[in-house]
């Protein structure tokens, strides 16, 4: 579904991604783990077109998207739910969701709202409320709901559990699994490696802009290297 080959991404003189290659297959949950500053968010931004790689190729659904606009990439069904939620705090929950469906046909809007409210009943209760007044967990749900409104074929999630209470973290991971079971492929960036490896099929480990390890999620979770570096035992 997604094939990234040898991309190099720079911020001015900073070489943030170095000859990086990954792939994601239809139906999978693939997780990217790695320390702060490893380049995880940079990779997601490059996939959604916010950043352009200097070299390398990105194919999504057998088409090159390297030179496509963000808008065109969203239209293809590659939806990026960014780090830090980035909900439109000055707008209502409902308006935020509507913006998630910006490129969708308005005929499917009602059904899409229904789907999102079924997944996140809390959002239905708060639909007229300003997004800025929601709790952190609710904002994360809104950010994910908004992404789902865009009919993702591939959903990029950047640290959805960041800053949430443990109970909520459980909920969020459960929902990611549900969304995936319903047919959406997921590329999940997480610092919470333990949880991420539990729900993922495969994983990549990033260090300073390179992939240093990759493989089956269960195997990686059991490997000594991962246990030492990312799972804290």
């Amino acid at each position: 579904m997604l094939t990234v080959q040898g991309i190099n991404v720079y911020y001015g003189a900073i070489h943030a991604l170095k000859d990086l290659s990954i792939n994601v297959k239809q139906g999978e949950i693939v997780t990217l783990i790695g320390a702060n500053g490893a380049g995880k968010s940079t990779l997601l931004k490059t996939l959604s077109g916010l950043l352009k790689p200097k070299t390398g190729s990105i194919e999504f659904l057998d088409k090159s998207i390297v030179n496509q606009s963000v808008q065109a990439i969203v239209k293809e069904g590659l939806i990026h739910c960014p780090e830090g939620r980035r909900v439109f705090a000055n707008m209502s929950v409902e308006e935020n969701l509507e913006l998630g469906a910006y490129l969708q046909d308005s005929s499917s809007l009602a059904a899409d709202f229904q789907r999102v409210y079924n997944t996140f009943p809390r959002l239905l209760e708060r639909k007229k409320q300003q997004a800025g007044t929601l709790s952190g967990g609710e904002q994360q749900m809104l950010a994910m709901g908004r992404a789902i409104m865009g009919h993702p074929k591939l959903l990029l999630l950047d640290e959805p559990s960041m800053g949430l209470a443990p109970l909520l973290v459980q909920d969020i991971f459960k929902i990611i699994k549900e969304v995936n079971d319903a047919g959406t492929t997921v590329l999940l960036v997480e610092q919470n490696a333990h949880q991420a490896l539990k729900i993922a099929d495969r994983a990549y480990v990033l260090e300073t802009g390179r992939v240093v390890l990759e493989g089956d999620a269960k195997e990686l979770a059991d490997s000594d290297e991962i246990k030492m570096a990312y799972l804290g035992h």
Binding site: L50, I79, R86, L99, Y102
Partner: protein, 301 residues
């Protein structure tokens, strides 16, 4: 007391003009963080287009109300296109450069419009035709006078505000505008076309300034190529007073400034009239830089 109310009514007319111009400043600032110093000159262009349309249409023998409506529509449409063109040619190439570069460019565009105006139209003032016959009414039998023009101005302003409110709150473009103002990157991730949204903002702001230009012409009956400078600056002050980036702020700021200014000059300090606006600006910048309706500036980390 009656005198005070009389001045209040006059102040609201002036304030409506400031408010309509201030909206363009505030919307453009909201979306690209640029003080568009050429905005007052778009108001001037709008006024001249209104003048020529009104003359032409009145000569064609159309009834006054039709002349007024068509002049407004023509002036607003052409000015909207002018606004879009200015943004595309002058500001868009600078979107990734420093804010000061864009600001200086805006000042350059302002001079360009002013002196192109002088070149084509001549520096002298031209009479703006009386589109509607001017009538005076006495309010509730008192000595307070309301001119038919003032009623027209207030009606036009209110209608435009309602339309604007509708666009910004309920249309897809309006929602996109609010999203882009709040967080450009997140807006792009929704699939919003940021360039087109910015164009729409310039179009709407310029159209409102053009309407203000026509109203100004009807009120003062005299227009010239440098007429945009002072109202432009005053409207800028109004936008800062209301909280730059805030639409209700621009409205309230404009009306407030218009009435304060008129009251002050009616108290015999007419030479202080223009000074008031700038005193207000300095006071806000010192005591409440975010303005009356401004949110505290959210610094991006």
């Amino acid at each position: 007391m009656e005198y005070f109310i009389q001045q209040l009514i006059n102040g609201i007319s002036v304030g409506s003009i400031y408010a309509l111009i201030a909206l363009g400043y505030t919307m453009v600032y909201g979306i690209i963080k640029l003080i568009n110093f050429a905005h007052g000159d778009v108001f001037m262009v709008g006024s001249f287009i209104g003048l020529y349309s009104a003359k032409y249409l009145a000569n064609a023998g159309l009834p006054p109300i039709v002349v007024l409506l068509l002049s407004l529509i023509i002036s607003m449409t052409i000015s909207a296109l002018l606004g879009i063109t200015i943004e595309r040619l002058a500001y868009k190439p600078l979107r990734k450069s420093t804010r000061i570069a864009a600001l200086i460019t805006a000042i350059g565009v302002s001079f360009l419009l002013e002196y192109t105006g002088v070149l084509i139209l001549g520096p002298q003032a031209q009479g703006f035709p009386d589109i509607m016959e001017k009538k005076q009414y006495h309010l509730f039998g008192s000595s307070i006078q309301v001119e038919s023009n003032q009623i027209m101005i207030l009606l036009t302003t209110i209608i435009l505000m309602l339309v604007l409110q509708y666009i910004v709150r309920y249309t897809k473009t309006g929602k996109a505008m609010r999203a882009v103002s709040f967080d450009v990157e997140a807006a792009r991730l929704m699939g919003i076309n940021v360039d087109r949204t910015i164009s729409a903002t310039f179009a709407i702001g310029s159209a409102l300034a053009a309407a203000a230009g026509v109203i100004f012409g009807m009120t003062y009956n005299s227009v010239d190529p440098l007429m945009g400078v002072m109202p432009g600056l005053k409207a800028f002050v109004a936008a800062v007073l209301g909280g730059i980036g805030s639409i209700p702020g621009a409205l309230v700021g404009g009306l407030l400034l218009g009435t304060v200014e008129t009251e002050i000059s009616s108290l015999g300090f007419s030479s202080w009239r223009d000074g008031v606006a700038f005193a207000v600006l300095i006071l806000i910048l010192i005591f409440k830089p975010s303005g009356l309706f401004g949110k505290n500036v959210r610094e991006k980390v």
